[in-house]
């Protein structure tokens, strides 16, 4: 009770600091007056009585200090004063403050944004029982899962799931592409799913096989496709293969299930055979991983009570050993087969990009911190006189360090607040752009998810305090340790050796320049690579050719239906643009199969197989060099003839005539795009023509070996004579007319190239590192500007003397520039070395150019050097205009 009262009192005291001071002075004054009155009564003169009373009272200052101590609020009050003092000091030097705060806001803001984004993307799934949850690495067939699930002593329960691309139609609107996830019983339970509308799937759903199958929609798909219309519950839709389903519910907004981004629609596992036309047709597959005929599932499980993950892992391997090897992908791989908890969503493919993004982000923080450190250092030097005076007046060193640190904290707090604002700005810009499109979470969800939470806020301020504190503490300690006498005489050397100091600052410039350059080089290498991808001549026409393809797996078409649809659409296209502009065959880069040619020959390299109608070469603009094109009849009959590329001709018949030669197609056909009947093993074909090389097997694969086989099926390729975009929309319309429920993919070959993961990855990463590099360069140039300005102000007197004795302005300019550019030069050298190391890691994202692309290095280096030179020039120009008379008088 009393303690509470005292505490309340203490808090009240805190808020009446000024009133307390006033009262204290009044009270002491009153005491002295009373004593003086007494003294006068004893016969002293007026003056004497007051003097005696004061003498008697003692040192008022000491007493007041002791009195303040007695109140127990001194620490807080001093801190309050320090904060106010700090704010005033910051306001006194607005240039310093703005630059420091902006450096912090930029450096930390970028990091906060990435942190928020990363936490969203890599958030572990919500699990109902996270302690016993394990996910099984690798992919498994349905049979393998059954075998594992039956071992009930290992797992309390197991679930399987598989994602597939499907088409949704049947409700009167056009067919939409969607991601379906086939899920077994208990899936929603394991990932603690909830429905926001209707219900989730119940065990045994869809097993009776009669009537439409119950499915659950994701929040995003429900909004995207059905405009958040709640009447969708109970409607019957049609999925791929004509599977009739009923939407029974919409999952909660934040439900993502087992995947990084939620599927659009969850389908009970029982419907799997209806959704896919094939499941394990080919037992002899040589490479299960690339065989599209098997449906692969992922498995998650809940460990049985008392079973450890290690035990279960050993047992699981035993089970897998007894299964056919084609039933799983992980049996032969090393490492833990079970992964505890829900993490590990980063797959190896994007690891390089993610590592790059994270390191690039941290680099900006480093560059920004170096700026702050540089500024604080410079300011410490400017303030040494103030500090010296305070030390001489008796301020304790501890007290001064505390005050300087308080200032740092004030600076850090302002920086932290602005960094949060900056991160929000960055995230807004990002979510408005297409960079985050792969997340595909829907704008609203994304905005909500990307609002920083407590964790992110705390970490942001921590970053701010650490970067300011780390850069502020050193100078604070040092500047309070100085030689008082020399400092008050304003001797620069009082603050440690001038040499060490300038070397430290130059060191920071070197670091900044090299980090920025690394970012910019990486960005421009990636940029060059994507520019190359979109402009280089691949040996075929890319802008004016439109490919229309229909995926039978997505639409559930049988081979016959597919053929029929293709014919009908081809006819419509031919009527529209003229038959000479329409061809059938493989889409370059996207649709390609590989075989081994002439197994008896020593050549071990594979050859690409491309199916082509007679018009194919004309439409794609691949010139025929020798021989003839296919005849219509040959295409219809899939006749045993072939046209080869120049490289193929040189590889197999280096000397002789090619035309009329035979070649034998070997096994190992992973047929996906090409009609399998025309590439049977051991099939013999006669070469009737040679065409020029084209990079149609993959980006950056110059002059691949290609064999073209006649065909009148495959994707429809149309050459646009006018605007390709208009023709594209016309082709989409024609596809709709042909079959409303079919989803045809219509795109130019340019778009096909662009959709290649590597091209996209490189573009996103290039944009990202480019923006960060620009930030970094901006921050670095501020740093360089600051360092050179400071050097100029230090050397004003020297410059004045030089000019007074006749040095021309150009000499002074050169001198300052040389001094300023020295660390920049070292930074550039270091940056190039660093970039060579850094770009090695992104080689897999590049094509067409080398990781050490001279042009990219040169241009980034030039930009950095130019910006640095400009940052040096501004203060150097000021030095040049120094008036000797003023300079000599300056201190």
């Amino acid at each position: 009770m009393r303690a509470l009262h005292a505490a309340m009192n203490w808090i009240r005291q805190l808020f009446r600091g000024r009133a307390f001071e006033r009262e204290m002075r009044a009270e002491m004054e009153s005491h002295i007056e009373q004593q003086a009155t007494l003294n006068r009564a004893r016969g002293m003169s007026a003056d004497e009585s007051i003097a005696a009373a004061r003498r008697d009272f003692g040192n008022v200052g000491n007493l007041q200090e002791a009195a303040r101590d007695a109140r127990g609020t001194r620490f807080i009050e001093e801190t309050k004063r320090d904060i106010v003092y700090g704010l005033r000091a910051l306001l006194r030097t607005p240039g310093f403050t703005i630059v420091a705060v902006l450096s912090l806001a930029l450096g930390i803001g970028v990091n906060t944004a990435m942190l928020t984004l990363g936490r969203y993307v890599f958030a572990p799934p919500a699990l109902s029982e996270p302690n016993t949850f394990v996910s099984v690495r690798g992919w498994y067939t349905y049979d393998a899962w059954r075998a594992i699930a039956l071992k009930s002593e290992l797992f309390e329960k197991t679930v399987v799931y598989a994602s597939m691309a499907i088409a949704v139609s049947g409700d009167g609107t056009d067919a939409t592409k969607a991601t379906a996830q086939l899920v077994s019983d208990g899936y929603f339970n394991m990932y603690s799913g909830r429905a926001q509308l209707g219900r989730l799937l119940v065990p045994g759903e869809g097993r009776d096989g009669s009537g439409p199958v119950a499915v659950v929609l994701s929040d995003n798909f429900w909004r995207r496709r059905f405009g958040a219309d709640s009447s969708v519950i109970g409607t019957t839709l049609r999925l791929t293969n004509g599977l009739r389903v009923t939407a029974v519910g919409v999952a909660a907004e934040n439900f993502k299930g087992s995947t990084v981004r939620a599927a659009d629609i969850w389908v009970p596992l029982a419907a799997r055979t209806q959704l896919r036309t094939f499941e394990r047709v080919d037992q002899r597959s040589i490479s299960p991983f690339t065989d599209a005929k098997t449906q692969w599932y992922s498995i998650s499980a809940q460990l049985a009570p008392g079973v450890s993950a290690a035990q279960a892992g050993v047992q699981l391997r035993n089970i897998l050993r007894h299964l056919p090897t084609a039933d799983s992908t992980y049996a032969s791989e090393a490492g833990d087969i079970l992964q505890v908890g829900g993490r590990g969503m980063i797959n190896r493919n994007n690891a390089a990009g993610i590592t790059l993004a994270i390191s690039a982000t941290l680099m900006v923080l480093l560059i920004g911190s170096a700026n702050v450190a540089n500024l604080v250092l410079a300011r410490g030097i400017d303030r040494r006189r103030e500090i010296a005076v305070r030390l001489s007046l008796g301020a304790s060193r501890e007290r001064l360090v505390r005050q300087l640190m308080t200032e740092s904290v004030v600076l850090g707090a302002i920086g932290g607040v602005l960094a949060l604002a900056m991160s929000q700005l960055i995230l807004r810009v990002l979510s408005a752009s297409e960079i985050l499109e792969p997340l595909d979470a829907g704008r609203e969800t994304l905005t909500r998810a990307l609002t920083p939470d407590t964790f992110v806020c705390v970490l942001t301020f921590l970053m701010a305090f650490v970067s300011v504190g780390a850069s502020g503490l050193g100078p604070a300690m040092r500047s309070t340790k100085m030689d008082l006498g020399r400092a008050s005489r304003d001797d620069a050397a009082a603050l440690g050796s001038k040499f060490t100091r300038s070397r430290m600052r130059s060191g920071m410039v070197i670091a900044q320049v090299s980090l920025s350059l690394m970012l910019l080089i990486t960005a421009s290498v990636l940029l060059r690579s994507s520019v190359y991808a979109s402009t280089s001549d691949l040996g075929f026409e890319r802008k004016q050719v439109i490919a229309t393809s229909v995926s039978s797996t997505e639409n559930g078409y049988s081979a016959a239906q597919n053929l029929e649809f293709g014919r009908a659409l081809q006819l419509r296209a031919e009527q529209y643009v003229g038959a000479e502009h329409v061809a059938r065959g493989s889409i370059p880069i996207a649709e390609m199969d590989f075989v081994r040619v002439n197994p008896a020959s020593v050549e071990r390299r594979t050859t690409a197989i491309v199916s082509a109608s007679p018009n194919y070469f004309k439409v794609l603009g691949i010139p025929l060099l020798r021989g003839r094109a296919f005849a219509d009849q040959e295409a219809r009959d899939a006749a045993p003839v072939a046209i080869v590329s120049e490289t193929t001709a040189k590889r197999y018949w280096p000397t002789g005539d090619v035309l009329g030669q035979r070649l034998v197609l070997a096994a190992e056909v992973w047929s996906r795009a090409v009609d399998s009947t025309i590439v049977q093993t051991g099939r013999e074909v006669v070469v009737v023509g040679v065409v020029r090389d084209a990079q149609n097997t993959g980006m950056g694969q110059v002059a691949p070996s290609v064999v073209y086989l006649p065909s009148d099926t495959g994707s429809i390729l149309v050459r646009a004579t006018g605007n390709a975009a208009i023709l594209s929309s016309k082709l989409r319309e024609l596809a709709r007319i042909t079959d409303r429920d079919v989803m045809a993919t219509v795109r130019t070959l340019d778009e096909v190239i662009h959709e290649q993961g590597r091209v996209q990855g490189a573009e996103v990463t290039s944009t990202y590192t480019g923006i960060l590099g620009a930030f970094g360069l901006l921050l670095s140039s501020i740093g360089i500007f600051g360092v050179v300005s400071y050097a100029v102000s230090q050397r004003t007197r020297e410059i004045g003397i030089r000019m007074a004795i006749g040095a021309p302005q150009s000499n002074v300019l050169t001198m300052i520039l040389r001094q300023g550019m020295m660390p920049v030069f070292f930074g550039i050298v270091l940056g190039i070395v660093g970039a060579i190391a850094a770009t090695r890691t992104i080689r897999s994202m590049l094509f067409g150019i080398s990781a050490i692309d001279p042009l990219a290095y040169l241009s980034a280096g030039t930009v950095v050097a130019a910006v640095a030179l400009f940052a040096c020039y501004l203060p150097a120009r000021r030095a040049m205009r120094v008036d000797p008379c003023c300079a000599l008088r300056s201190d």
């Binding site: 009262e23 009270e27 009153s30 009373q34 009272f57 003692g58 007695a70």
Partner: protein, 113 residues
């Protein structure tokens, strides 16, 4: 006057202040004078220790203060005991009596043979 040989024991000043305030509300100046007078000039308290003691007691909510007009028509800060102060004083007094009794017993023990 003899030199103030009797420096106050640590914590005793608080006890004296509280005891004197128990009688009537007093200002700082009068308090100093009264300590001197009541102790027959043996205990002399200077302002440098009195005021911090008063503020400390105030911070602990054992005394509270009000500005009042003194008899010679002057504004002075007058301190008075709070309920908590009264209770605290009782406790401190008991402790002090125990302590001084013990010290006296040792000092006044009969000479041992």
């Amino acid at each position: 006057m003899t030199t103030p040989s009797t420096s106050l024991l640590q914590g005793t000043l608080d006890l004296l202040v509280l005891e004197l305030l128990r009688g009537e509300p007093t200002n700082g100046f009068d308090l100093a004078k009264r300590i001197q007078a009541v102790s027959n000039d043996v205990l002399k308290v200077n302002a440098g220790s009195l005021y911090p003691a008063l503020y400390r007691l105030e911070a602990k909510a054992l005394v509270r203060a009000e500005w009042e007009t003194t008899k010679n028509n002057r504004q002075a800060k007058v301190y008075m005991l709070t309920a908590a102060g009264r209770k605290h004083l009782a406790g401190e007094r008991a402790t002090w009596e125990l302590f001084s009794g013990a010290v006296a017993a040792i000092l006044n023990r009969p000479e041992e043979a």
